[in-house]
Symmetry: D2
Subunit: 343 residues, 4 copies
């Protein structure tokens, strides 16, 4: 079975495994206060062109989201996101469990627009009973989105300007950041994101690491005491160096970008194969996730050798998801393409 | 610098590193639903002599504690523990952050007695205003305790009987479980603990793993829907197999016990060296943590080559902590013993 | 200015004021353990034809909702309601602040159907990743709804049967219960509601009392320790007798029903006046709230002497709300009707 | 039975009952935005000599405490208080239910000293693992304390200076404020308290009102968006005017002080009677609560006609509590004194 149902079916890039092995018996202080974490943070700050940023290494995405959001919001505040946003749809109410409502705004492709956010804010404050309603006080976006789509530099700039004007933080979930940055449709750099957002995270779990996400807090206002929050939510890894070492490796010699490019190229090939076959795509994704709409028969056929995810009904077809990753083998994609051709 | 300040300064047993390397490019389903997790759970259930137990693999101890406790308690309920209990003293209010008061009871050596728990329960229900007071509704013990001490089989049995009589769960934090089980003073087996407690966890982070704890829920009443709680608190590892594989390794051929014995024996040597030197021990610990009370001068001298933890003032001396672990080298302990002799 | 913008602009029925005055210097135990509370609870249980029900007197509606919901749900569970439900729209995230997601389902008139609930439950458990999604675990309905509409006995029975089949509680918010029960379109009695729901509350604040809601818990499963929850959320009134005395008065000689009938009759007159004038009604409400769609000019004219609430845009008109209550004077309604006629 | 077990066994001062009756059918806007609330707030700000203070009217003390504390603290922060503090001992974990640990410091008489707070803060920040410990970030004091004792102006000033130096809020629970202010041992005015604290509340429930507490926020930093928090916690009274009207009455012509003096004088008489009889007092209280230590026999005898509260064992005696209030009748106290004499 070739597993393309998600981008976390395999371990880590060999460079990480090698360094884990190599450094295994070294003695270091715990809780992220070791040389590997310091070095990785330096590399990331450089990548962000922002020497003042704070970098925290965490284990997973849901954890990172709930930590940052609950660290920043006051009890009566909520976070706006697309209704498809991971925090709204797939984190078992992790944000609500910290006391905050997720304010889901409708979205066709998974992105939010500055206009939507502005209207939500304006409507809130125009309502004479606004104290009876959760205050919209943060914007959460994902890049790429859960649907594989991207924000352009213009779109993210517009959101950022609005958020700064209204003094609310803009937070970007980069679980698949590499696959967004390396898309041929993308015009944003990591430094752009660091500059435009108040905080964001660089996904490792889905992009080359065994596990791990690097939270980058760029706005001084949201930096204070974050390590207490980490510990309180059970998110401070005892052997923090495991995270530092992984990100240090990923941000050495552009490895993070190289492995991301690999995944995006393979995804493009899969996409092309479906298009050639006139199989419609549910979302117009230029990244590592592809969402073809298959007939019952096509679905059955492809399931024989490939694992993929069911997404939703799409008329009389079924939208499904194929993911590539840093680890996907070209030959497996070739086999899939042949399979698609022969449908 | 020889680091003996904690038992998580190094990586994992070589067997784990080898299997991680070996299995790195395998494709498995995510979130703990893979063969490694299934196999590890089977081994643990066998170790516990309890085929019906539920086993969940989590990343860290604070996380495991907050998950289980918040999964079980209703909003008005609190958890009793020794005032030195990790949940009371060193988890940044993780339990309170889920809404529950930690009810700290005084303890000299880090253990709770059935008598204390009984008196707390009786006093609560005798108070005519008990509805104005947090309801004591769970017992948390650690084995070994934060002070390195142990419960005897008789003591744990007494606690267990009381808890069952009053219908409140008994939960055991086994962050250093191996070091407790392999102590020469110990008369409990893992199966005893499984039988006497409603849930407990087997520590991996401090006992041979890179990271990871195995939560064992033995009482059916507390099993339902635990995986939802895991996801909600950001504790469900995407590549769950990393945990499964580690515990599978630790519970193959008694590795967990072997490496624990190693640490406990070295700790005993350190203890003997301090005793021979007439340096008092702050706690009477038969496990891998030792707490000598050093003079200023002794502390200064030992700090030159060894890292250890400051514990507290002890009269005109200072109680400090030396930890051994599965990874501690005999030669390093020999050097320390020489150093102690020459004080 | 004649205030018809809400049903809580005035004090209490004179009978309550008289008894408050009369009993003012009596000495009673606190926290709801007095004769007035006991007597009121007895009257309500009789009204519900359910001697085993638990009755708790609370101060307000948001408070009652958040208490009952958080008392019953486990951390990963959410409560389904119409998107217009008070807990979703007008309680500043009170339910989320206790850690639970409100699962808002679309609704045209403010009611939920058994079909919707069934589909939500079925979709949840059919999803292979359901542990990543908040578990739908309670149904919240309001009677009358926030739009003035009602559930028929058949509809509520269907919801109740579904909930029992799936073992999830059905909770009814009766902030305006009297105005629902006394509507000429209603076919439910309080005893029906008690029998069909697992808990509900009888609104006092909007129906004759200075303040106060009577929560009736009918299912044994949800009764335990509720008074602890009351105290914890700051909802246990020190001089609880103030609540007991008010409900005791309201449920003496059918006063609650009489005053409710008064309000509903006046609302019917207002409704008829708008209909005669061919002014469309935004919701088809047979209770004390009426929602005419006014032109700019009509709105301006009526604002001169009457206070009413703005609801929403309705095409090129504006939906607004007029409320009657137990306290509304017939002559004020007559004046309003004349005003409407002359529009 | 003459009830002296608490200071909330009776209704309200007759002036309040009269105004409630008088204004009953007036129509006002809801949620505290009416003329009575505005007027009461003005009177209180004048009393505090602080025109910029924010005044919020709430229903009860536990509610007021949990609202202010949770409004101000970030998730990893806790509130220091005497171990006897109401928030620690008698609010069913209300503060913990909002996610924050109560950091209880030992106290003999119910007061905290600046020295204790300073040591707690210093110890916290001196600990190299302080991120693993709840951050002490607020000081809660009660005036009078739960034991009837008082802070002097010098003591409160010292606490205030320390808190300002360390930038943490000082919050004062004034459930019995009047009884403290009118004690002959007191040297603080309400304006002093307003000046020295960042927020405090003026108790109404125990001092002349049917119910109600007036929260005064004096530090601009803690004022923002408080009404959202009120609504979210179910604490915003629909007919807010009921609170405004009560406080408006209490702060007209010094009524609050007059009725407080009455209670304190009667308590003094009770105290003198016990002292004359050589019955020891458990706490040295100059306010409306008195804590004699009775023998079994004395307790039995006094219970025949008087209700009082059991406090705790005191050697072979029993500490009990007698409370006077604004409503206590002189003749009842005379009868009690005779009873004491004849013991």
């Amino acid at each position: 079975m070739i597993r393309l149902e998600s981008d976390y079916t395999q371990g880590a890039v060999p460079e990480i495994i090698a360094r884990l092995t190599e450094t295994n018996m070294e003695m270091t202080p715990g809780y992220g206060e070791d040389e590997y974490c310091f070095s990785a943070a330096e590399r990331i700050k450089k990548e962000c062109d922002m020497p003042t940023a704070d970098v925290h290494f965490l284990v997973g995405g849901t954890q990172t989201n709930l930590l940052f959001i609950s660290s920043v919001l006051r009890p009566h505040q909520g976070v706006m996101c697309a209704h498809t946003g991971h925090i709204n749809a797939h984190e078992t109410g992790a944000v609500e469990a910290t006391g905050h409502k997720v304010l889901a705004l409708g979205s066709k492709d998974g992105t939010l627009t500055a206009k939507q956010v502005k209207e939500t804010l304006d409507a809130h404050y125009a309502d004479t009973t606004h104290e009876h309603i959760v205050q919209p006080a943060m914007v959460y976006v994902s890049f790429p989105t859960e649907n594989g789509t991207l924000y352009s530099k213009a779109q993210l700039t517009e959101l950022s300007e609005l958020c700064r004007e209204r003094d609310i933080p803009l937070y970007l979930d980069g679980a698949r950041l590499g696959y967004g940055l390396m898309s041929e449709k993308n015009d944003l750099t990591m430094a752009d994101i660091a500059r435009l957002c108040d905080a964001f995270y660089i996904g490792g779990t889905k992009v080359g690491a065994l596990f791990g996400e690097a939270l980058v807090i760029t706005n001084d206002k949201y930096k204070k005491d974050f390590r207490y929050i980490e510990k309180q939510k059970g998110a401070m890894l005892a052997k923090g160096r495991l995270l530092g070492l992984q990100f240090d490796t990923l941000f050495t010699d552009g490895l993070y970008y190289k492995i991301s490019t690999h995944a995006v190229c393979l995804a493009k090939k899969i996409r092309d194969a479906f298009e050639k076959k006139n199989i419609p795509l549910y979302f117009d994704s230029p990244t590592n996730q592809q969402f073809p709409c298959l007939t019952d028969e096509q679905m059955k056929k492809l399931s024989e050798d490939f694992a993929f995810s069911y997404w939703c009904k799409a008329g009389d077809r079924h939208a499904v998801r194929f993911c590539t990753s840093w680890a996907t083998r070209s030959e497996d994609v070739e086999r899939l393409i042949e399979e698609i051709r022969s449908l």
